[in-house]
Amino acid sequence: MDKLAHPGLVRIAGIVIGLVFVFAGLGKIGDIAMFAAQVHNFRLTPVALENLVAMTLPWVELVAGTALILGARRRAAAWICAALMIVFTLSVGQAAARGLDFECGCFGKGDASRVGLQKLFENIGLTVVALVATLQRRR
């Protein structure tokens, strides 16, 4: 664990996950209507809340990603990313398990990747990276 908490590694993990979140956030903000429809596709949110999720989630991603890249409030931003990655992974997992097949909307418009096993593994990988970014060497 101490090795994983090497400051350089943690920093790189933070920048990688930060970039992913910034791109994902911007992609969604670019076409909120489409993202709202995709939130609906997951069938996890009450219909009344789908829009609020669609309009705020990408911005939380963007803010957390930017903070991670800049290194400001780094651990908090990393925990947000990790928590979101876990939520995303579970969402994709449940959708795949239910046999739903749709574009995941993970990166907004133009991201034609579909919900499925590959997406699930991608997400698990990113979750691990995000968790590494949350680490802090014990002092």
Partner: protein, 201 residues
């Protein structure tokens, strides 16, 4: 202490993100294309109820419904509800559904399971079970609309699968799709015709 500031930082970042999102939306995204931009819930469907825009029989023919050669001429004062292309499903009520049925100007899609369909359905309806519709878009594409609007229905009550099927149909390029939320139970209870066990899909 350390974790306190961590929690505070997390709250700060999340609040900032939410505020930016809400602010950005307030600045102008509302009213853009698509159905997902109103503040509070987007109702899945807009209700046309029995107040569906109606075309009086003697009005100039307008809209594909009145062009339908299969539709018998309606009674002098009877109006046929018109389901236009709204880009999203609309809800229609029992009375409007019955008028469309009487005029033969609609394609019914039954979103329930095949065994429920076999036990009774609106005559002429096609069975397109929800599970098949969402996992196999080809099933939706195969639906032959024949120039008529589509009305989906299911088991009534809080049953939402008819709405989901309606969205799926729109997703594969069908237009003028309405949802009859009362569903089969309401139809049957009203004493309207019921068909049993016709293989149709």
């Amino acid at each position: 202490m350390k974790s306190d500031s961590l929690v505070a930082d997390i709250a700060l970042l999340v609040t900032l993100g939410v505020a930016l999102g809400v602010g950005y939306n307030a600045l102008g995204l509302r009213g853009a294309d698509g159905w997902g931009l109103a503040w509070k819930g987007v109702p899945l469907i807009e209700t046309l109820g029995d107040e569906v825009k109606a075309v009086e029989q003697d009005a100039a023919p307008r809209g594909p419904v009145s062009d339908d050669p299969l539709a018998p001429p309606p009674a002098a004062t009877q109006a046929i509800p018109v389901i236009e292309d709204y880009g999203r499903p609309v809800e229609i009520g029992l009375q409007a559904v019955k008028q469309l049925y009487d005029a033969g100007a609609v394609l019914f899609i039954d979103a329930r399971e095949d065994w429920e369909f076999a036990e009774g359905h609106i005559p002429g309806a096609i069975n397109l079970p929800y599970e098949q519709a969402i996992t196999d878009p080809a099933r939706c594409e195969q639906v032959e609309q024949g120039g008529k609007p589509i009305v989906t229905y299911c088991g009534g009550g809080s049953c939402e699968i008819s709405i989901s099927v309606a969205w799926e149909l729109l997703g594969v390029g069908k237009t003028r799709v309405a949802v009859y939320m009362g569903g089969f139970p309401e139809w049957e209870q009203a004493g309207f015709p019921v068909e049993k066990k016709t293989e149709d899909s």
